[in-house]
């Protein structure tokens, strides 16, 4: 851990209640950047990122939900073997505190006095109910930076609205921009883009507030609307409306500028090659690689404007040839010829991808209860630092109770034991609390 001293956020202590998908992307970024992230959890209410299906029905374990857990094992201790929790909280600490108890809450307040920041994306009402609001916390620590990011932010008529990225992106208009061209929106697959995007915004904002605090000496409250963070990225459609009052529809895989463009079938099952013929030269090179010499001289495809107008006729001609090629070999051939093209990587093969292997993108992380697995990352590659997933595994539930409560807050052994006896803290999720 000696190298940690040099990571840029070393020495920055962050309390986190970062749940589902948005919170975790903030914590993994901050942790990879060197911050000491303490996830404040509870044995009464399991952190949703650990995914709570006590008594998980076998049908769920056999299906998608089972993949969340090591070897599809939903038995006792499943909360320590959740796949993405163990990615998103790598290098973090876990403390359990029953914040609904007076003692638990007062210990949280003590932690706040030792923290630089508190980030949370609980439902908007939870923070006020538990008296974890900024007005309360800033009294205890005026240097505290608090970042709140429930889906729609903490102000405005939708502030109590619930949802995931799929819900937030719909209101922001993203869903109606990215369906298949000409298709019914009910056929549009949804995405969770909004969640990690919110997490990345939170990490940025927290660091920005550190800069501000250095000048002003004061922390501050930061309110992020996940929905607005998505809207900010729909710039092409947004500015078109602002400028021309034009309402754009589904773009599908089309480019506003080029054709041919999009994923084309390659040989094999569900294999694709994505091609962006972004110039006349690229189009000619594409035709040469695919042995379609007639296309480059065909009047329908003679220039960029004609190709765009006739892209419906062009695509099947290209696809008929790409179908005969191996996706990776065609990518290599096209790139060498100056045509922007890539295969579509399959996630179950990514650890074998030659480029990602050369970059050591996947790194083994040993977890005390889940064993050693490859993790994607690192999210920060600093020239003078070792790659970061080796910073450490994700914590088991309450793993750092003693470290933090006795080490940082100075509780005695007797006080600590009393907290355990009173179930203020613990390392086992209490089923009865949820019954």
């Amino acid at each position: 851990m000696g190298a940690e001293r040099g990571l840029p956020l070393a020495g920055v202590r962050v309390l986190a209640q970062g749940i589902v998908w948005a919170g975790p992307f903030a914590t993994v970024l901050l942790s990879d950047l060197g911050a000491e992230v303490i996830e404040v959890e509870s044995i009464q209410h399991l952190n949703p990122t650990r995914t709570n299906f006590r008594h998980i029905p076998q049908q769920l374990l056999d299906g998608r939900v089972g993949t969340y857990y090591l070897n599809r094992d939903g038995s006792e201790g499943f909360w320590n073997r959740q796949a993405w929790f163990n990615f998103a909280k790598r290098g973090c600490k876990s403390v359990t505190l029953n914040l609904e108890s007076e003692r638990g809450c007062s210990l949280f307040y003590e932690l706040v006095q030792h923290a630089d920041a508190f980030i949370e994306n609980n439902a908007a009402a939870v923070v006020e109910r538990l008296k974890l609001d900024y007005a309360t916390l800033t009294q205890l620590n005026p240097r505290l930076i608090m970042v709140r990011f429930p889906g729609f932010g903490i102000e405005g008529p939708y502030r109590h609205y619930k949802g995931y990225g799929t819900i937030m992106e719909a209101v922001a208009g993203h869903t109606l921009l990215r369906g298949y061209e000409g298709s019914d929106p009910s056929q549009t697959p949804n995405s969770l883009h909004g969640d990690p995007n919110a997490g990345a915004n939170v990490a940025f904002a927290l660091i920005a507030a550190l800069f501000a605090r250095e000048r002003t000496g004061a922390g501050q409250l930061i309110d992020l609307s996940q929905s607005e963070a998505v809207l900010q990225q729909e710039a092409y459609a947004f500015m078109d409306y602002a400028m021309n009052a034009r309402v754009q529809g589904h773009w599908g895989n089309a480019s506003p500028a080029f054709a041919p463009y999009g994923p084309y079938p390659a040989s094999g099952d569900d294999r694709w090659v994505a091609i962006a013929a972004d110039s006349d030269a690229a189009f000619c090179a594409l035709c040469a690689c695919l042995e379609l010499p007639g296309l480059a001289t065909d009047a329908r495809f003679a220039d960029a404007a004609a190709r765009y107008a006739h892209r419906g006729e062009l695509d099947p001609l290209i696809a008929a040839r790409t179908r005969e090629h191996d996706a990776r070999a065609l990518m290599q051939q096209l790139q060498a010829a100056g045509v922007p093209a890539t295969e579509l990587l399959h996630q179950d093969e990514m650890t074998e991808d030659p480029h990602l292997r050369a970059r050591e993108f996947f790194q083994p992380v040993a977890h005390p209860e889940a064993g050693t697995h490859l993790q994607p990352g690192p999210l920060a590659r600093f020239a003078r630092q070792p790659l970061v997933p080796v910073r450490g595994p994700a914590p088991t539930l309450g793993q750092h109770n003693q470290d933090v409560l006795c080490g940082l807050l100075g509780l005695s052994r007797a006080e600590y034991d009393q907290l355990v006896a009173d179930e203020i803290i613990g390392t086992v999720y209490r089923e009865d609390a949820h019954a």
Partner: protein, 402 residues
């Protein structure tokens, strides 16, 4: 006007396109002094991306450029000239953070690579943004948002299983990587300030997408843990229960997400509290065999409400339903309006327009949105700021350096 959190931070921005400029937009909007270096002949390619007012292309009115470059100062430098490179290194000497997004190796070939930058200013942090990173066999591959999304692994699982995979909205993967890069670069600047020594960050857009929580890292981890992918190409990203996905309502569509535990909320919303205790459905909301039956329950209710009504009524019960807004719905949306998201900026060529404003609201140091710069608008003031006389700038212009 309000001082942003990054007031006093000096950023030299050599990036162009979407990802780099979106990262440095964060710095500029939040108060940093961002000096954007552009080529004299046409500048940043985003100046050609559009959309344009009345569909008339103009170098100063590209909507993408105007949004991506708010609050920056523009300097033109033709880095093919040795004099321009010397000027660049003088600008580096005054910067806390340098950002670049050239193809890997380009700056080095011009003689202003990472070593030259570190020599000119050992205290400056350097953020290098690229498609596939600064190393590896695909380092020099050309790519755009479609190709990077494809190489991030998530595109293959996005879309209808019976059709070709589909990408996100235009440029979204690049915008996302821009936010990730903004945090990395700012962290590097923070560390450099603390240590008194600059640090270099290698940000690969492909890797940011592959490790994203949007079915990237979770799926890769699920595969490591269980031997099976959690998500495949499917109509809807389901949580664990039905109904889920996009559904029609009286005047359009809504997006729905459901958890098993939320069955009572759904029943109350659609006026069927009698079904709350119907164990046959309640305990098997994840079962695809029930899909038609559940759809038959919710369709009549959905079709008798508008998207705004359906959202308000369901959300009042705590059931996540939301309107699929078009862009004109978005511009009228009461929530975005109440939060003052839209910000009007005037521009000498594009006129007064509404722009996307702040998604991040920093209550203590909010920052301010200023319009994007004209090409080379600040060349004279920036060069004079590092010791050139006005007469020098006139000569440099004659030489084609600026």
């Amino acid at each position: 006007m309000s001082e942003g959190p990054l007031a006093g931070l000096r950023v030299l921005d050599l990036s162009q396109g979407v990802t780099g400029p979106f990262a440095t937009k964060y710095y500029a909007d939040f108060g940093a002094d961002v000096v954007k270096v552009e080529r004299p002949d046409g500048g940043d390619p985003a100046r050609r991306m559009g959309p344009f007012p009345h569909d008339v292309p103009h170098a100063e009115t590209s909507g993408m450029f105007l949004h991506l470059n708010t609050g920056k100062r523009s300097v033109t430098l033709d880095l093919r000239h040795a004099t321009a490179r010397a000027i660049l290194l003088r600008l580096v000497a005054d910067a806390d953070l340098v950002v670049e997004s050239f193809r890997p190796g380009t700056l080095g070939r011009l003689g202003v690579g990472p070593e030259a930058i570190a020599a000119a200013n050992p205290r400056a942090a350097l953020l290098q943004i690229s498609n596939f990173g600064q190393s590896g066999p695909y380092r020099d591959f050309a790519a755009d948002d479609l190709l990077l999304y494809a190489m991030g692994g998530v595109m293959q699982i996005t879309g209808d299983p019976e059709r070709e995979p589909i990408k996100l909205g235009l440029y979204m993967p690049l915008f996302f990587a821009g936010v990730v890069a903004a945090g990395m670069g700012l962290a590097a600047a923070w560390g450099a300030r603390r240590d008194g020594v600059g640090e270099r960050v290698d940000c690969s857009i492909q890797e940011a997408l592959a490790a994203s929580m949007d079915r990237g890292a979770p799926n890769l981890m699920a595969y490591q843990y269980s031997g099976t992918l959690m998500s495949t190409r499917e109509r809807a990203v389901r949580m664990n229960a039905l109904p889920a996905g996009t559904y029609p309502v009286a005047d359009g569509y809504v997006s729905i997400a459901t958890q098993i535990a939320w069955w009572p909320r759904l029943c109350r919303t659609i006026g069927r509290p009698d079904l709350i205790d119907d164990e046959r459905i309640a305990s098997r909301l994840y079962d695809p065999l029930l899909a038609e039956e559940i759809d038959a329950l919710v369709y009549p209710w959905l079709l008798s409400h508008t998207k705004q009504e359906a959202m308000a009524l369901a959300q009042a019960e705590g059931w996540p339903v939301s309107a699929l807004n078009t862009m004109d719905d978005v511009f009228r949306d009461p929530h975005f309006r109440a939060r003052n998201f839209f910000t009007t900026l005037d521009h000498p060529y594009a006129g007064a327009l509404e722009y996307p404003g702040f998604a991040l609201k920093l209550h203590g140091t909010p920052g301010t949105l200023h319009r994007a710069p004209l090409l080379g608008e600040h060349t004279v003031e920036v060069l004079c700021g590092v010791g050139y006389a006005r007469a020098d700038v006139v000569r440099l212009r004659q030489l084609g350096v600026v």
